[in-house]
């Protein structure tokens, strides 16, 4: 009996699984945890890129952020982008996924076509949309004029520029979320729909009473991933508007990038911004989990 217990104990403390985990853990510590902790330390210093000497300045960088109207504006703009992009990014891929899941013609081709934009880099996407939406030479405005609907370019006006960024993002990531929704839809047992049909439920009723509740875990995933990604938006802004017109599309990461790499290379201030952003994302992610987690079971 004791021999058996010892054997079981030996099995439990066997180093083999830990050795397998070690490389990944080391890489995680080196490339994730260390920069994170170092960034936190830098946020309490006056560190500048390329300067070996720096001093501890306490909470000074965080206090300055409260007095920096451009940082506060970038927070507002980031929140605006997040809210404005959430509904189209949640709804459009879902709509397309439901249609594709119903067995439309050329399903594979359409799925590939919708996913294609996501295979492009953000720079390619940004440059393409920058040209499409160019107020003078862009085809979008040209054709609007041709059909008698002249309108200012989305990117040229401070009131609409962020919608140009939203449009670009929606076009870019719809295919990615579509694939996730499709996987979720295909996991829903067919017999539930058949039973509902026998009971006389309309397609709309089946969608609300079966599809939506059973897709909740997928919604949670898409929602959390999208919110995190939205708060970190940078590529589209950097390529298309650089935060303009004026500061209309200045987001936190754009502001952080300029502070760290263009304006005196202030890594201390930029690190403080990064940690504020981290805190905001953390709070929103926890809230989402709390709100949606309880309803995920079925």
């Amino acid at each position: 009996m004791f021999a058996g217990r010892r054997r079981a104990l030996r099995r439990r403390v066997s180093p083999t699984p830990y050795l397998f985990l070690l490389p990944a853990c080391l890489l995680f510590l080196l490339f994730r945890v260390y920069p994170l902790v170092n960034g936190l330390w830098l946020s309490f210093t006056n560190a500048r890129l390329g300067r070996a000497e720096y001093a501890f300045v306490g909470l000074s960088n965080y206090e300055k952020l409260l007095d920096d109207p451009r940082f506060l504006l970038s927070l507002v703009n980031t929140a605006y982008y997040t809210v404005a992009s959430t509904l189209p990014i949640l709804a459009l891929p879902l709509l397309l996924a439901v249609l594709l899941n119903r067995g439309v013609a050329c399903k594979a081709l359409l799925r590939g076509a919708f996913f294609f934009p996501f295979t492009l880099s953000v720079v390619t996407v940004g440059l393409a949309w920058l040209w499409l939406l160019d107020p003078v030479v862009g085809p979008f405005n040209y054709y609007m004029r041709r059909i008698g609907l002249p309108m200012p370019s989305l990117l040229a006006e401070p009131q609409t520029a962020m919608w140009g960024i939203v449009l670009t993002s929606v076009w870019w990531v719809t295919g990615y979320y579509l694939v996730i929704y499709l996987a979720g839809l295909q996991d829903i047992p067919r017999h539930l729909y058949e039973a509902a049909a026998i009971d006389g439920a309309s397609a709309w009723r089946s969608f609300w009473s079966i599809t939506v509740p059973l897709l909740r875990p997928v919604f949670l995933f898409v929602f959390v991933i999208h919110i995190i990604g939205s708060f970190q938006i940078f590529g589209q802004v950097f390529v298309m508007t650089q935060g303009g017109p004026g500061d209309a599309t200045r987001t936190v990461v754009q502001h952080l990038y300029e502070t760290a790499f263009q304006s005196l290379f202030h890594f201390g201030s930029a690190s403080a911004m990064a940690w504020v952003l981290f805190a905001v994302i953390l709070v929103f992610s926890l809230l989402q989990f709390r709100i949606l987690r309880g309803h995920a079971e079925y």
Binding site: V136, V137, E157, S263
Partner: protein, 427 residues
Amino acid sequence: MPKRSVGITRRRFLTSTAAVGATTILAPNRRPALAQGVKATISFWNGLTGADGKVMDDLIGQFTKETGIAVEQQRIVWPDLYAKLQVSTPAGEGPDICLIHTVEVPHFASDGILEAIDDRTLEAKGFRGEDYLPSPWNGGTYQGKRYTIPLDVPQHTFFLNPKLMKAAGFANPDGSLKLPGSKDELLQMGAKLTSGDVFGFAMGSGANIGRYTWSLHNLLWQNGANIFTPDLKKCALTEPAAIEAAEFWGAIFAKNKIATPANANPRDAFIAGKVAMWIAGSWNVSGLREAKVDFTVAPVPKLFKQPIVFTIPHQFSFPKPKTQDATRREAAWTLIRWITDHVAEWTLRAGQVSANRKSHTDPRITGDPALRTLLAQGPYWQHGQSTPKWVPAENLTRPVVESVYIGQKPVKEAMEDLARQINALPD
């Protein structure tokens, strides 16, 4: 732009040999011979990502063939190049030579990234102030020390679309184009040229600092204003001359709608024949020629008190190495000397006039109308003030000036806001 033959004919060889011989005999002490027998591989970082990069590749290929010195180039867009230089150099991973803009000299020098060049070395390598035009030469110094050797002078110039100008009646009897002589005249001409999706005027290119900040700088300097006071201690953008220049900047779009909207690329619009008058960088000349655009180049018009022209010269710099390697340094000097001696080729093919006077009388250059115009602007060249805060101030200026351009903010309020931000920049 037609491709130039790279073959050497007997006549050209004899002519070149005679010219080189004559130069050597007539000025034996002015320039030392290229270092002989220096065999090294040196690194050269630059941001020549446009058509000029190809020209530099060709020149360096020729240099390697002649000297045996191999050059490894890293070509990175300018903002990323500067961030990389700032990080790599203290870590001992910087290049042997880096091409930078004049306005970057003060902050890289004050951060200890660049190595100072003493007068004795300068003299020994044959570089003398009198061989250069004063503005780019002086731009290579910071607080009395020299850090760089100028290469060329990218600058603003005035591009015109002859078809649009003539159609609007802005042609003189001799066929030349009528040019605006003041800001009011420019606004009037711009209004007449603007119709539908065609704009009378544009300034700068892209949606970045090159469009907004540099355009404002040119206007400020023409009006005798600047970003900082002469003692460089505080921002001078709230002075009346600065406000007046910014008001004109706001007038061209927000008020008069004669210029391209925000986030439109004036360069693309000019190429598409949608802009009649365009003040922009000389670096566009070769691209417009390649795109076979019908255009004329004229001097930047005098819109305010003085016909100042914005410039942003390229400078060769030596990032501070952790350990000195005399062979590599010698090879680096050899490269700078060689390019300086072949700067006419650079000017002709890259479209940028040299800072060194050597090529300014070359008939191939004076025979080119665009290059001749750029050279004629020489007496009016001006570049950014010599302070490490200049570049951060440029970055702060862009969004504020853009908000003035689109009429989002009243000019005075915007300039006061910008001045506050610039004055708050840490030392």
